[in-house]
Symmetry: C2
Subunit: 409 residues, 2 copies
């Protein structure tokens, strides 16, 4: 089902020194599936995070913010699938705190050193007692080479586990980065991850790591959209275990900082694009670039209008070059002084529309040829400036409706 | 297919003195269907109109604005289905002008006295010669009691013709209003009609009629949304033939003005709601009311976020009370300082969520009971003010995807 996305092999994922992952079956929503994961971080690491901008943020997000704000060293993450603990009010916050306290107790930490994450159905009470009962097994399972199992354990409607890894030299050391993500629906910028966890053994000062996390999110997870629904639980965590033998990176502008950004951005983009490739019901992967805007913000607005249009998305599903729908979406993106006469539209190399109208040289056969591909690039030129922006999305199919009409059964 | 919407009977539609309608088959896109309509207005009428805010407005919209701005008395409308003449650049504008000129010539008018309207596929050249060839037959067909035929002739993916009529006393006269609309997809506020035409025999000063048209649109067509796609062609025209024997209405605030507004609003709401009831693939009609906001604007934003959420819409399709999705949509509606703790959610009479979390008294069986209905009211209370707003929408079904993946075939 997923578009040009295969499951990773465990051997492709570099272990990150100083970080172990463990999973277990806790029967949170369904029996016989591994639905609980813990990430155990050695002392001395840096942890940064970016969260959803949805005002109905889930209970675990609130607890994460509290614990990160308290300043204690973060030493463990507890992650469950099957239940999002969102729309659960103050009771939900108490349950998220209980999970942290239970894991902290078993590890000899304070509760504030644990971050909780949940994904799954909204507005159902989190079964804390089952999570607590599973923690010992998850801890016992913890190994450095267990990334693939963790990628499996955080899936909801995902059809493929998502994990990527890379390495590159920084200073005298060979540094690695490995990450996992999940999320196939309820995906829209800020944040689009639902859940994403990346770790590197690089040495990075905490404020630099937080800046890097924000920049990575803006260039990856915040550029993917499946259905325009911004989740209540989106979280992206970036961990630096500081184990690699190079000088600590104190600025992203340094050569080492740039090298680390390039290394981590590659993995972050792969993780983000994997979410779209595995988008609910997706049959096509679509890259939408809007150029020639006055600023990146208006380019982003236009790109999102195209990416969220059900009419555009169903046309991609049908491989139907009904491309006027893209122009219509450009028109309602909310740019009040947009002029049609400067708009150009390309589908891959095919020049579809010029000066706001059909390109005389365009033939439907050319449009059809591109629409039949599984990977399609849409390019809109606004002709009013030099800014540009890109988002990645998928088509809207019968299976999207089936999956979401049937999610809880 | 349509939700509690039946085709009108010709006898239910009051003829409006001073206005005749004619239709014919012009083979604009398909053979053997009536796809061309003319509305012929006697001298002495007032005409007001409201158009899409989509910046990629279609060529006929540009010509309508020019002709209305020129100030000549509008005496005829020419309307085709099958081709929207949108995304067609300057050539499309020339074609729209040609249609007006051709009808004007046959009626002994100037081209500026004719307004053109088109709906259908985008970015295809309008077959002007076939429209011109059909005009004589459409004119010959024109009768005052031909509203139902016109309702048929403007349909695209509509499954039911949409026409409503009402009458009420104003002063010494019995005044009537009759209208037709079309549009089942690409429906979103401003405008949501795609096409709507209403006429009354009431006597109304031109500026008052324009004010009335705007107020009617805001309270009806701008409150319906099927898929969030704002069309390039949306137009709403309100005609007063000034034939009724009452004193001319010079203010909407007068008793007669209020009576006229109430009379026309009823028909406008029915026409607008009919578009949602016949929404592409719709199986449910959903009224979303957001109360307790600081202003109507933020209530409208929240209502639209709920109405446009594919996750909410597929849950309605499945009759699945996965109602946390509604809270999630409230959260990403863009109200930066929204607090969860004051949010209440009702489904008809069922109190689903309180203080941002699940209502302890809520049972899934109660939610399920309402979700199974074909008409559902969602009510969100924001708890931060006294403003309110309402929109009407439908669910998202397999058939929506089928219809739009296959629209042009």
């Amino acid at each position: 089902m997923a578009v040009n996305l295969r499951a990773p092999l465990a051997a492709e994922l570099h272990p990150v020194a100083g970080l172990r992952l463990g999973v277990t079956e806790a029967a949170i929503r369904k029996a016989n599936r591994r639905d609980l994961a813990v990430l155990l971080i050695e002392a001395g690491a840096s942890v940064a995070a970016v969260f959803t901008r949805n005002r109905f943020f889930a209970a675990p997000i609130q607890v994460c913010r509290e614990h990160l704000g308290a300043g204690a060293e973060i030493r463990a993450l507890v992650i469950n699938t099957g239940n999002a603990n969102a729309g659960t009010g103050t009771d939900g916050v108490a349950r998220a705190r209980s999970c942290c306290a239970a894991l902290a107790q078993q590890l000899g930490l304070s509760a504030q050193q644990v971050l909780p994450f949940s994904t799954g159905v909204i507005m159902e009470p989190l079964p804390v007692e089952r999570i607590e009962a599973g923690l010992a097994a998850a801890i016992a399972d913890a190994r450095e080479d267990n990334w693939l199992a963790a990628a499996h354990a955080i899936m909801t409607t995902d059809t493929v586990p998502k994990a990527f890894s890379a390495q590159a030299p920084i200073g005298a050391a060979m540094v690695c980065v490995t990450g996992i993500s999940k999320g196939a629906g309820m995906i829209r910028p800020n944040m689009a991850t639902m859940l994403g966890f990346m770790a590197t053994d690089a040495c990075v000062a905490q404020p630099v790591l937080q800046q890097l996390a924000r920049e990575l999110a803006d260039a990856s997870f915040n550029r993917v959209t499946v259905d325009g629904d911004t989740s209540t639980n989106d979280s992206f965590v970036l961990i630096a275990t500081n184990k690699a033998a190079h000088l600590r990176i104190d600025s992203l502008d340094s050569a080492d900082g740039q090298a680390l950004k390039a290394l981590t951005l590659g993995v972050a983009k792969s993780l983000a694009q994997a979410i779209v490739r595995d988008g609910e019901g997706a049959t096509k992967f679509i890259t939408i670039t809007v150029a020639g805007g006055r600023n990146a913000g208006e380019c982003h607005r236009v790109a999102c209008a195209i990416a969220h249009s059900p009419l555009v998305k169903t046309a991609f599903f049908a491989s139907d070059p009904n491309l006027g729908r893209i122009l219509a979406a450009v028109g309602y993106a909310g740019i009040d002084d947009l002029e049609q006469e400067t708009i150009e539209l390309f589908l891959d190399d095919v020049h579809v529309a010029t000066r706001g109208g059909r390109n005389p040289a365009y033939s439907e056969a050319d449009g059809q040829r591109v629409m039949l591909q599984s990977e399609i690039a849409v390019r809109v030129e606004l002709g009013r400036g030099s800014a540009t922006d890109t988002v990645w999305t998928c088509d809207l199919s019968h299976d999207y409706v089936s999956i979401n009409a049937d999610y809880r059964s």
